[in-house]
Amino acid sequence: MFLRHKAIRIVFIGLILIGLLIGCSPGGEENTDTVKSENNSENPPSINTEELVYANFRDIRDLNPHIYSGELFAQNLLFEGLVKITEDGVIPWLAKDWDISEDGKAYTFYLRQDVSFTDGYKFDAQAVKANFDAIYDNKDRHTWLELIRLLEGFEVVDDYTFRIKLTKPYYPLLTEMALTRPFRFISPNCMIDGTTKDGVDGLIGTGAYVLTENHIDEYAIFDVNENYWGEKPSIKRIIAKVIPDNQIRTLALEKGEIDILYGTNMIDADTYSKFDKMDGFEVTISDPVSTRMLIFNTTDEVLGDLAVRQAISHAVNKAEISEGIFQGLESPADTIFSKKIPYCNVDLAPYEYSVEKAQEILDNSGWIVNDNTKIRKKNGLALEVDMYYNSNNVTEKTISEYLQSELMKIGVKINILGEEEQSYEDRMKNGDFDITFNISWGTPYDPQSFLGAMRMPVYGDYEAQQGLDEKQKIDDSILKALTVTDERERQELYDYILTTLHEEAVYLPLTYQRNRAVFSDKVKNVTFNPSQFEIPFEKMYIK
């Protein structure tokens, strides 16, 4: 018996030892992506003034700058473009200057001569051409950019001069060239047979940082590029940790394991207001970057009536949505685009919140309240519409429920239907809805790319606008606005498009989304770039 006991004891002690071994063994090594590594530390080093720990909700994934599956913030750290968008408009980056031909069809870029990729490969017109070749080789994937559709050719003029030719003039060319993808430059050494569409052999750019270590689904380390051609950032090392759970990100920030949370989908209203009040932390919020709105389907029997669309627009209290649902993080929106967006400072009379006005419009156009059901009717047709939302989106559900109860006050019955994301998107694409949610693409895609997409049956907008008498004219004006060279004419076209869509009340703008950041107060100069997808790490410093 004693032996038996001894045996059990040995087994138990063995189990404890194994447990301790597992518990104390630092993990991660086996999950390491082989990246050129100067620092083989197994653990991220402790925080100091040269190091910033950022948390993202998912892995950085494939950072190949010519495809769309990597995290934008990380691609921005490694890869640079010819031009850059700032608050003052488009400015030189890897191109020190450029010329636009008189007909607007040829763009000649003069490249900087002091730039090399981090593997030593010289950045010159040949390197630019190699990248354009790789991008163009995969052009089906980039057709959402008008620039790719209009591209006639590109050529090396001399060692440091590169020219792009278009079939038609296209004013947003420089904006599209400044996007994080696909017009960013990777070292031709990383291309596989001159292409990048089937993967790349390394992530070598010209950017201010290099990817030193990548532990998939755990963390990635970016170190400053010691040979950077421009001004070197103050933060020498950025550790991007992966923390998928919202609450844990918040706790990790509070504990000091991370220094900053950044972006609309990373910080909800509760987190923002919590850290706003907490000592040792700061919060900041940007100007409006995109618009949350409803789309009305004008081909629907009920919503085809302009009076109904206008009445609903008057009956929605946006201020209450802004305060009650978003705690002021999103501001009430009166127009499809904020007036700060290029070409969108158009004088439009907002649909002011007034239940009386909404009722008056409906009364005057023959929609009479049925005393039994409290729902309005006109020629036997009930004022009843279906509103769809993405059931994964808590905010959309709350807004739907709020609107359902509010609109009942003016005799409009809304049936709200939540759907799984994929079916919801399919429904939207097919125009199979009465009312649904929509978010504009945000800066720097607004207004040109968002409006451009209305011309094609790929999003709900196209179908929803089919009931408008002026649909063809709207589409023609959009295309013309994108290709016209005269600035005044372009503004007039935008005036027409935005005014018509506003007066026809196809969209009901609800709120303007704003970018936000929550961070430890030792992180200074946390700002926002015009593009909501970029994080200006290079401007931050730690004190």
């Binding site: 630092p26 959402w144 689904d217």
Partner: protein
């Protein structure tokens, strides 16, 4: 015995085929078109021509059964294709990358479960209806009722934020496995304590215990050598199933604790509609269940002489 094992293995093969068929069919039952999904996840506008090209690339234009067979043939050679999201990564590579972390987490949890539940259960059975037993019963009741994501948040709040002795999440810092492993094991501890305790109490009323007492054996010997040993039979079945459940049940825990394992891979694949990975995951878990069942049956057969009409002496 050998005959029995061979027979069981032979039965397992058609079951695995059935699982593979279900894994294949389930994904194809999803109303969305996989070609369109593959495009949309890469933010490509799914126009008709692009969809057609993608259907061809994925082989979706071929007849259903032919697709199943060619998929099965690939799977047998461990070629699950490439991920939709990261086209350059193979599904096999993704799974083998994530599996070790989950194995570490699941094995530590299993060890905690065994170390904690056995002594408590034995104590509860021996001192049935004592204060300790009642208290543990209450704890078990609470333990099985509380959702483990909530326990996880409470533990993080206490041990990371307030006491500051363990990291909130991740895999890189020392001791980071402790909180997820403890959280994961809590539900199982509750189950096992209850299972072993009840089995032991049941066994204590059996005749053999009575005869053992008559033979004048020490109570300790009776409990450990006879009652516990006999009570463990049903635990082996449960344990076999728990191994797979521990591996597949890490989804929530891995997400909360940012643990880079197979559960995280699965959930992010579901969110991203990375069908090849989801398919491989379903298949892997199905086959693991079958294998564990097989092992449990064989072990049972070996341990329990009654099952193979063996020599009771």
């Amino acid at each position: 015995m050998t005959k029995y094992i061979i027979r069981r293995i032979l039965i397992a093969i058609p079951m695995m085929l059935a699982v593979s068929f279900i894994a294949f069919v389930l994904i194809n039952l999803i109303p969305a078109d996989p070609a369109e999904v593959a495009l949309r996840v890469n933010e490509i506008i799914p126009t008709d021509e692009v969809i057609e090209a993608m259907r061809e690339e994925l082989g979706l234009d071929k007849p259903y059964f032919q697709r199943y067979l060619s998929w099965l043939w690939d799977v047998i050679r461990l070629d699950f294709g490439n991920s939709y999201i990261n086209n350059t990564r193979t599904v096999y590579g993704e799974i083998t990358r994530a599996l070790p972390a989950t194995l570490r987490l699941a094995s530590l949890s299993l060890i905690i479960v065994i170390l904690v539940s056995f002594p408590i259960a034995i104590f509860c059975a021996v001192y049935k209806d004592s204060f300790f037993d009642r208290f543990i019963r209450l704890l078990i009741f609470v333990g099985t009722s509380i959702p483990n994501y909530w326990v996880a948040l409470l533990l993080i709040w206490l041990f990371s934020l307030k006491l500051g002795i363990l990291p909130t999440s991740g895999n890189e810092a020392k001791g980071s496995i402790i909180l997820p492993a403890v959280t994961l094991s809590l539900t199982y501890i509750s189950t096992y304590v209850r299972l072993i305790r009840n089995n032991m109490i049941e066994n204590m009323t059996e005749n053999y215990v009575f005869y053992a007492r008559v033979r004048g054996l020490k109570e300790r010997v009776i409990i450990i050598k006879h009652v516990l040993k006999n009570s463990l039979q049903s635990c082996i079945t449960a344990l076999g199933m728990s191994v797979v459940q521990l591996l597949s049940g890490t989804v929530v825990i891995e997400n909360i604790f940012s643990w880079p394992g197979i559960g995280r891979l699965c959930i992010s694949s579901i969110f991203n509609r990375d069908y090849p990975i989801i398919q491989a995951y379903i298949l892997m878990m199905g086959i693991l269940f079958i294998l564990c069942n097989l092992i449990v049956d064989i072990v049972h057969h070996k341990l329990d002489p009654r099952l193979h009409g063996g020599d009771i002496n």
